[in-house]
């Protein structure tokens, strides 16, 4: 649900690019909708066949084009549809996070979570939590001028 905007100047809302794995968190998003679990409209979801498809180029591009944060989600470790894709995600994630940290970005701007297809409630909860954290941080320094 889009929160009501009263004043333009106060209208900044976190914009978060969320990568969802086709086999788990993407279905989890449906589950959250069907279950009518409340969540803010901060996410821009991109479906990928596996969380390990998310490349650093995708993450950096998201930031450069105005995302305030990036959230990568995939199947729980051990449950990957392609045996161990999510383990590779975790390796890449740790490197990307330390790079962004070294660059001077807050590390909370890059997040990772494992959400299965049946965890609609967890999906909504993660979205709420990440949105709240990013709201506290404010807009990202990588956001180009003029992009909401």
């Amino acid at each position: 649900m889009e929160p009501e905007k009263t004043e333009i100047s106060k209208s900044w809302e976190p914009r978060i690019v969320m990568f969802c794995c086709n086999w788990c968190s993407y279905a989890g998003a449906d589950g959250a909708g069907i279950g009518r679990f409340q969540q803010p409209a901060s996410m821009r979801i991109i479906r990928v066949m596996c969380s390990s498809r998310v490349d650093p180029v995708h993450v950096f591009s998201a930031f450069l084009e105005g995302a305030d944060a990036v959230l990568i989600t995939g199947c729980h470790l051990g449950d990957c549809h392609y045996i161990n894709g999510n383990e590779k995600t975790l390796v890449k994630f740790n490197f990307m996070r330390s790079m962004l940290k070294e660059l001077g970005l807050e590390e909370e701007r890059l997040q990772l979570n494992w959400i299965s297809a049946s965890e609609g409630e967890k999906f909504a909860e993660v979205v709420r939590m990440v949105t709240e954290q990013v709201r506290q941080l404010g807009p990202s320094v990588l956001k180009p001028e003029g992009v909401a």
Partner: protein, 409 residues
């Protein structure tokens, strides 16, 4: 002094003093001309098919050449302190069929190791004769030093040497002109920035590690100190001695400990310098501004990538294929990808910084990303070809991570 060592007795771990048999090579060599003798012997006996050396143009200029001509190798003797080249970059599949030998500063040797890991060439076919290194100087800065500090005409220089912390120039009239390197560096002259915080001074990753540290005073510039690091090193040195190109002998314990002591002091200075260089880039928000400001000047010419000896991606690389200036509003995606990509492999060789037409302190930036990551994983790239790049290492560590790695619970 102890006796000469026979070829068959040379083994891995030996620390020896050696010198070229030829008087001419000995006099032109930086130390005892041993490196030149090893390279020439390897070529002469057919141990290698070609050698990569520097061909001297003037005191400040030399260019790398592949040669199978023993004479050309003999002529290459001597250290070029103002030629900050990285030789490993020239080792490519096109240039490396068969066996190749090359002299290598620690950064050359580290780049060789990283290139071997990326299958550019094979370790068995590459013979690396390491040179200790206290640093190289940018030729342009050398000219500036000569003009502003030494007050000498660069054309009048006949030779140059580093003696006891002083940079000494010899002029054609036979005079010596010495200035302490510390004084030069206080003026931002002297060694290249990256050399001042370089982390490896003795190339223990090469097949042989040669230098003048540990050479007793009375033999200075007459012999080379050599440590035999690998079986290939044994092969090289035995070959040199049995072909009559050089002689080696056992040094005394004092020599060995003196070398270790100098190395320790040099590494300590590098460490101190590193802290000084990186201290202004420490804080979160300011750090971002610092990177943004520096990279703002990038004209995306691609020279830094073309020259980087550990980058083996070639034409089809992620940092260029997905880069679009229009999308890189706040920062260049090209550099962001490279920062990540090089965090496990940047050896701090300074090549990128040397070529950047926009004068961005690139090595500082790249090292600023690489050093914390390399520290965290206790991994120094280019030191061993048995250590896989740690993308491979990390997969096994996943299991111990709390909460399976989730960041938001």
């Amino acid at each position: 002094m102890s006796e000469l060592k026979v070829a068959a007795d040379i083994k891995v771990g030996d620390k020896l003093l050696g010198w070229a048999a030829s008087e001419d090579v000995r006099s032109r060599g930086a130390s005892g001309g041993l490196v030149t003798a090893v390279l020439a012997a390897a070529l002469e006996t057919g141990l290698v098919d070609r050698v990569l050396v520097l061909k001297k143009v003037s005191e400040f200029e030399a260019y790398p050449v592949f040669t199978s001509d023993v004479q050309e190798v003999l002529e290459s003797a001597g250290s070029m302190h103002s030629v900050p080249v990285n030789l490993a970059r020239y080792l490519k599949p096109e240039t490396c069929s068969g066996k190749t030998a090359l002299p290598a500063k620690p950064c050359d040797a580290r780049a060789v190791v990283e290139r071997v890991k990326r299958n550019v060439m094979s370790s068995e076919d590459t013979y690396v004769i390491g040179l200790n290194c206290g640093g190289t100087m940018h030729p342009e800065k050398v000219r500036k030093m000569l003009e502003t500090i030494y007050r000498l005409d660069p054309e009048e220089i006949a030779g140059e040497e580093i003696v006891k912390g002083k940079l000494v120039f010899f002029t054609k009239d036979g005079k010596e002109h010495a200035v302490p390197i510390d004084d030069l560096e206080a003026e931002d002259l002297g060694r290249r920035d990256s050399c001042r915080y370089c982390q490896v001074k003795i190339p223990t990753n090469a097949d042989l590690a040669c230098g003048n540290w540990g050479v007793p005073g009375d033999l200075a510039e007459k012999v080379t100190f050599v440590e035999v690091m690998t079986e290939k090193g044994v092969e090289l040195l035995r070959n040199t001695v049995s072909a009559g190109f050089a002689e080696v002998m056992q040094p005394d314990g004092k020599s060995i400990s003196a070398r270790e002591k100098v190395n320790k002091v040099m590494l300590g200075m590098s460490e101190k310098r590193k802290t000084e260089v990186f201290a202004p880039i420490e804080n979160g928000k300011e750090r971002f501004e610092y990177f943004r400001k520096e990279l703002e000047n990038c004209i995306h010419c691609g020279a830094c990538k073309a020259v980087c000896p550990v980058c083996t991606c070639g034409e089809d690389s992620k940092c260029t294929a997905y880069f679009s200036l229009a999308d890189s509003h706040k920062m260049s995606l090209f550099h962001m990808v490279r920062f990540l990509h090089l965090s496990d492999s940047c050896i701090g060789c300074g090549q990128c910084e040397d070529v950047c037409p926009a004068e961005i302190p690139l090595t500082r930036l790249y090292q600023r990303f690489a050093v914390p990551v390399q520290k965290e994983y206790r991994y120094l790239p280019g030191m061993s070809d048995r250590t896989p790049p740690f993308f491979a290492l990390k997969l096994e560590d996943n299991e111990d991570k709390e909460g399976g790695g989730c960041t938001c619970r």
